[in-house]
């Protein structure tokens, strides 16, 4: 029974990481309607900045987090200006190719400048954990979970309770209509896309504390984040949280209770996504 409870905790903790990465992507896809294949690369930038701050300047990653978020917001804004805004009306496939090219560019730029090595940061709280009887709750992962929930909550609040949010939703629903009622669509897109990049970087900071920084760190998580927001339903922020939790817990259950389950966890992850999509498509029809 202890193992079962611990398994649930393990799953939930892992899901926090997934939700954190997915939150920014949900914004980019939901509002801007851009399938940003380079999302993981902004995470990578965040992770490397956190590493650099820690290894070179001795600043704790959590302290540098706000600065990194702002810096990557700037990178995102630049990306939007020079590339994304020019393909907003292009076919979805063209957008995919553009962001894919961007991903290749950023990843290999990092590889060229920093090499392929895995880098880690050292913090005093890295291995901290909360002991509840026999249960152990990893500190940084719990923090990631809390942060994901807070960010998704803040996003939800922004979208539904603020002027900017109302504009975002208007733009997301009907670009031309929004333009007609005087919304600066370009500005809304710029903000949404840049915030999405900043959120990726925030996830990256946490990833650098929890795991590592390397040019390819974004890839695994971005792929899973995509699957999660699609499973949640595009633009559904609360859905992101439950989809992450569901996937994280089922992964953990498979890893714990299926012999050789570590090898099957990915299959289960994607099988659930696949099943959800297909089931929903059949339920929705007629």
């Amino acid at each position: 029974m202890d193992l079962f409870a611990q398994t649930l905790v393990n799953g939930l903790l892992q899901s926090g990481l997934y939700a954190l990465v997915a939150s920014g992507l949900a914004l980019a896809v939901g509002v801007v309607g851009i399938v940003n294949f380079a999302h993981g690369e902004y995470l990578m930038i965040g992770a490397f900045l956190a590493w650099a701050g820690s290894a070179l300047l001795g600043v704790d990653p959590l302290l540098s987090l706000p600065v990194i978020a702002v810096a990557v917001y700037g990178v995102g804004a630049l990306t939007y200006r020079v590339s994304i805004r020019h393909v907003l009306l292009a076919p979805e496939l063209n957008q995919m190719l553009l962001t894919f090219g961007l991903g290749i560019l950023l990843q290999n730029l990092a590889l060229m400048l920093l090499g392929g090595n895995t880098r880690t940061v050292s913090t005093p709280y890295q291995a901290s954990s909360l002991q509840l009887g026999e249960l152990s709750v990893g500190g940084p992962k719990a923090l990631a979970f809390g942060l994901a929930a807070a960010l998704l909550g803040a996003l939800y609040f922004t979208l539904y309770r603020t002027t900017l949010g109302r504009q975002m939703r208007a733009v997301a629903q009907n670009r031309r209509g929004a333009q007609l009622i005087g919304i600066d669509v370009d500005r809304v897109y710029l903000i949404a896309f840049s915030v999405s990049c900043a959120l990726a970087a925030v996830a990256g900071v946490l990833v650098s504390v929890l795991l590592f920084a390397s040019p390819t760190v974004g890839l695994v998580f971005a792929l899973k984040a995509f699957a999660i927001i699609v499973m949640a339903g595009l633009g559904n922020l609360t859905g992101v949280l439950w989809a992450s939790a569901l996937l994280g817990v089922s992964e953990a259950l498979v890893q714990t209770y299926v012999p050789g389950g570590g090898g099957w966890s990915d299959a289960v992850f994607f099988l659930m996504i696949f099943g959800t999509l297909v089931l929903r498509s059949y339920r929705g029809a007629r």
């Binding site: 193992l3 611990q6 398994t7 905790v9 393990n10 799953g11 903790l13 892992q14 990481l17 290894a55 290999n108 590889l111 090499g115 392929g116 090595n117 895995t118 880098r119 880690t120 940061v121 050292s122 890295q126 291995a127 901290s128 954990s129 002991q131 152990s136 990893g138 500190g139 940084p140 990833v207 929890l210 795991l211 590592f212 390397s214 390819t216 760190v217 695994v220 992964e251 953990a252 890893q255 714990t256 050789g260 389950g261 570590g262 090898g263 966890s265 990915d266």
Partner: protein, 386 residues
């Protein structure tokens, strides 16, 4: 002016007949850390060889090519080195998949290959009947032999009996895992857990929870550098009591030694920069002089040794004739940063360089990797947690 012209002509003439060695390495893609380290080693060796008069009286030439860590890229690059650049010898090779992919053209052209990496058994199969294949890196079964030796020592002196195995589900971790488990059992160990994980996922929670229930003395993990910190973190968080956490990643994270979680983590390497071996100290000094830093990637000295021994064999043969050079190579008997190098048959190939005895086991102790086994190389006593 005239002399300048003359010198130019002479240089050009001498260049025309220079010995050319093609070096195929993963300079980009997944294996690039090892590939770049090897490249540095080759260039260091090249400097020394040419400073000492080159090969056959002329400066040696290296022709680097990037296999991109992908078989589909490796094949054309290999063919280019052999047919366009017309290299006399081939060196390099890190990844197993790319090495297998080029085994076809290598046999077709009868290319002389002085190969540093590619430890997987299918590579041995692919090159079994190649007459000019010199393999420096130990095959994976030699790696395991070394590990088993260490664990047996732990069993005798530390009463380590229960082993938990965590291995990544890719080709690196999964290769021959069943044989590994059998061998541990045969040696009298209890294998209390055998569990796969997904490298880079950072998802070790369930694995460690299970290990906790299995109460192992040694947790043996086969994964990559990306897994080192997340695994160590999870073990600490869930308070899993171990005698030893032992891993065999191809490389370790940069700066891992400074992390408190790295303390007492043990691992396997062919070489450590801190090795007291005389050749190793010479290499480290030369490397520091050329690059200004010290490397911990053993592919750097391995490449260095690779080119030095190849050049020596060519010089000894006095020709670039493959058969004669091979005959000289086979006689190689030199001291290296890894210990003595000679070539002898492995299970399937004729010329195998380093074997089980060249591996050493280290532990992260006080911000550095310190050799702890075999005992004769130990610089500090190992720390065993139970």
């Amino acid at each position: 002016m005239k002399t300048l012209l003359m010198t130019g002509v002479l240089l050009a003439l001498s260049g025309a007949g220079a010995v050319k060695v093609g070096v195929l390495l993963p300079l980009s893609g997944g294996g690039s850390v090892s590939g770049q380290a090897a490249k540095n080693g080759y260039q260091l060796a090249l400097d020394e060889i040419n400073r000492a008069g080159g090969v056959l009286g002329k400066p040696l030439e290296l022709e680097f090519a990037d296999d991109g860590s992908a078989p589909a890229k490796a094949v054309p690059e290999f063919v280019k080195l052999v047919t366009v650049e017309k290299v006399d010898f081939m060196a390099g090779g890190v990844s197993s998949a790319t090495s297998i992919a080029i085994s076809g053209p290598a046999k077709q052209y009868g290319t002389f290959m002085a190969w540093i990496g590619a430890a997987a058994v299918p590579v041995e199969d692919a090159f079994a009947d190649h007459p000019y294949f010199f393999h420096y890196h130990p095959w994976s079964y030699y790696n395991f032999e070394a590990i088993l030796g260490y664990f047996k020592y732990l069993k005798t002196y530390k009463k380590a009996k229960n082993i938990a195995i965590a291995y990544e589900d890719g080709p690196f971790g999964s290769a021959g895992i069943d044989a590994t488990v059998d061998a541990f059992r045969k040696a009298g160990f209890n294998v209390v857990l055998t569990e796969k994980f997904k490298t880079g996922s950072g998802n070790f929670g369930p694995l460690v929870s299970k290990a906790k229930a299995a109460k192992p003395d040694i947790l043996y993990w086969v994964g990559y550098d990306t897994d080192a910190l997340p695994l160590a973190t999870e073990i600490r968080q869930q308070n899993l009591q171990l005698g030893l956490l032992y891993g065999t990643p191809p490389s370790w994270p940069v700066g891992f030694e400074k992390n408190k979680l790295a303390d007492n983590v043990a691992g396997l390497s062919l070489w450590l920069s801190s090795s007291p071996n005389k050749d190793s100290r010479t290499f480290v000094a030369a490397y520091r002089k050329k690059y200004g830093t010290v490397t911990d990637e053993y592919f750097a000295p391995l490449a260095y040794v690779n080119l030095k021994t190849l050049a020596a064999a060519i010089n000894a043969a006095g020709t670039t004739d493959k058969a004669k050079v091979a005959a000289e190579m086979a006689k190689t008997n030199v001291s290296t940063p890894f210990g003595q190098l000679t070539f002898s048959p492995s299970l399937k190939t004729k010329y195998q360089g380093f074997k089980a005895g060249n591996w050493l086991h280290f532990q992260y102790l006080g911000d550095a990797r310190v050799p702890v086994f075999p005992i004769k190389f130990a610089q500090k006593p190992m720390v065993y947690g139970k």
